[in-house]
């Protein structure tokens, strides 16, 4: 009876599409048969806490809102116009870029060197991983407070003590002298996060086929030649990845500066995220803070969009 009448349209209905609750072959389809059921929980959270703030932030950047969301008037592009003329936006953007330049080079190079050492030695791997990677697992608060209390106190701080041990008493204001503050933050960051790049490189090194080295060895290539002509070329893809991940991570600097120098001395280390925080959360100008955020976002998008284009072109050139 009913089973024969409903049996006809059943094959037409594609699996999971509009079939919820419709009898198929006499069996009621369960709600879980629909694909949206699987995607929905993620999409709800995603829409609420990523898409919506992304959209509402753009709206806010066109208003003069304060942090509680009241008193906002539509001001058009005024916030953007102000931001472009604001020397603090430019200086904090510059500090962000400068930190990224200063930190990316050692983080990639040291990460590679550490991985080459650990891979070449093939002994006590746990020791290399523990000492070079484990700091990455410490919260930024712990790392920054450790370095802050280790290098800041002059005379009895570890940095000054080590220099004193080799006969130097330079009286360096590690975090209070404009010449050294950013470098101290970079050094802290390298100690803390280089382990991540170290692991990525180590994984890549272990994936290089051993027969390449054996063939090279038979041809009489020494260790140095094998490094230059096999290892480094084989790591090119990984290096591209590590550089991009590192640049994107470094651009988002906030914790180290906020905890160690508060942006000082004389705002010489203040990154753009801290300026957003100051404008929005302590200055209550959340509309303006949003506009600055979007300028920063444009910078990050440019970096992440330019990289694939570059690597594609390199791949095409290699294919020729």
């Amino acid at each position: 009876m009913t089973s024969t009448t409903t049996a006809a349209p059943a094959p037409v209905a594609k699996p999971g599409r509009g079939a919820a609750g419709r009898p198929v072959r006499g069996v009621r389809r369960k709600w879980t048969e629909h694909g949206l059921v699987f995607v929905a929980p993620f999409l709800v959270v995603y829409a609420l806490f990523l898409i919506w703030p992304l959209v509402s932030g753009l709206g806010m950047s066109l208003t003069s809102e304060n942090i509680t969301g009241s008193g906002g008037e539509f001001v058009g592009l005024d916030n953007y116009a102000e931001a472009v003329r604001d020397p603090d936006v430019w200086s904090s953007l510059w500090n962000t870029v400068w930190f990224t330049v200063l930190s990316t080079v050692p983080l990639v190079v040291v990460g590679l060197v550490l991985a080459l050492l650990a891979h070449q030695l093939r002994v006590v791997q746990w020791l290399w991983r523990l000492s070079w990677f484990a700091p990455f697992l410490l919260p930024s608060g712990v790392v920054c407070l450790l370095f802050l209390n280790m290098i800041l106190p002059s005379d009895f701080g570890l940095a000054d003590q080590l220099l004193a041990a080799v006969g130097l008493t330079p009286e360096i204001g590690w975090l209070t002298d404009e010449r050294y503050a950013m470098l101290s933050i970079v050094a802290t960051t390298v100690w803390w996060t280089v382990g991540f790049n170290f692991l990525l490189y180590l994984a890549a090194l272990q994936a290089i086929p051993a027969h390449l080295y054996e063939a090279a060895e038979l041809d009489g290539a020494g260790a140095w030649k094998r490094l230059l002509h096999i290892t480094l070329p084989m790591l090119r893809r990984t290096t591209g990845l590590v550089v991009v991940l590192q640049v994107l991570a470094s651009l988002k600097i906030f914790d180290q500066v906020y905890i160690m120098t508060g942006g000082g001395p004389d705002e010489s280390t203040r990154p753009i995220l801290q300026y957003v925080y100051q404008q929005g959360f302590t200055g209550y100008r959340i509309g303006y803070a949003s506009a600055v955020s979007y300028i920063f976002f444009a910078l990050i998008l440019t970096v992440s969009l330019v990289q694939p284009l570059l690597s594609r072109r390199r791949a095409e050139e290699a294919a020729k």
Binding site: V45, L138, G141, F196, S290
Partner: protein
């Protein structure tokens, strides 16, 4: 143990630690010894700050600022630890961090795995569009959303709540991408056999796909846990009540009240740093593989 059987059959694998892929034990040539010395020096440099923190935390408070510098105080004491412990804050923050990190990790793994399965194995209207939207989200760093996100939290009344810290960290598009790539490689035959036996999508997902994906799910879970545990900016913004702070935020917040009590600062840093280091000691292999996996897939 079953391990003894493999010793005789596959010697190269068992002693694999010090044998290269070709099955030879590397010789200790002068060049290699030089590399070892360099590696040990770098290890010492990397361990120095940690060793200094531990050493300082074991000194009597009066000895911490003494010059000339020495690694030990006049005596070894756990005074700083008991002071930090008694103040109680650190334990509250540890519990908050643990609760927030575990909940975030569970929610992330479940929602991302379900979404990835939905995108790879089911069909519904608008799927391509929605997946495109998720992929585009990889480009959005959560840090640029702090201002609108905070206002949203004010409106939802989630400031100073666990959910206010947790929810914005749950939907990570990159994790969906990693899982989609993995699920695409899982042979469909395994699931189809179960469908023939009458299992529904839901059952197939939980009893076949999830157990099969344990390694990649572990990678996603580990990565999420580490980044949630260590996250500073968002919990720092959304919590103002010290009782609801996570460990990193609480520590930074209280730093000023320590004054110059270096032994106590270092003791609290040691306590705060230990949990993940202990986890690392036990799960080294999985963590290393997880980082390599999620990091490499992050492309």
């Amino acid at each position: 143990m079953s391990g003894s059987a493999t010793v005789t059959t596959r010697p190269a694998q068992v002693s694999g630690r010090s044998v290269d892929a070709g099955g030879r034990r590397p010789r200790w040539t002068p060049g290699r010894i030089a590399l070892l010395v360099v590696a040990l020096l770098l290890t010492a440099a990397w361990l120095l700050p940690l060793a200094w923190a531990v050493a300082t935390s074991l000194k009597p408070e009066g000895d911490t600022t003494r010059t000339p510098f020495s690694w030990t105080g006049s005596r070894v004491t756990f005074d700083a630890y008991s002071k930090v412990w008694e103040s109680g804050d650190l334990m509250v923050w540890l519990m908050n961090s643990a609760y927030i990190s575990v909940t975030t990790t569970l929610l992330t793994v479940v929602t991302c795995a379900m979404a990835a399965y939905g995108f790879t194995r089911t069909d519904f209207r608008g799927k391509r569009l929605l997946y495109g939207l998720v992929l585009a989200g990889i480009m959005v760093p959560p840090q640029v959303l702090i201002a609108p996100l905070f206002r949203e939290m004010v409106q939802l009344g989630l400031v100073d709540t666990y959910w206010g810290v947790i929810l914005p960290q749950v939907a990570v598009p990159a994790m969906v991408f990693i899982l989609v790539k993995f699920f695409e490689g899982v042979p469909r035959e395994l699931e189809e056999a179960a469908f023939v036996d009458g299992a529904g999508r839901w059952r197939v997902f939980w009893t076949i796909v999830i157990p099969l994906s344990r390694p990649v799910l572990a990678a996603v879970a580990i990565f999420t846990f580490i980044s949630t545990w260590n996250n500073f900016l968002w919990p720092f913004l959304v919590t103002t009540d010290p009782g609801g702070m996570t460990l990193p935020v609480g520590l930074v917040n209280v730093q000023s009240t320590f004054g110059v009590r270096y032994a106590q600062i270092m003791a609290s840093l040691v306590i705060a740093g230990l949990p993940l280091l202990i986890v690392f000691a036990f799960f080294q292999r999985q963590i290393v593989r997880g980082i390599a996996h999620t990091g490499l897939a992050g492309q």
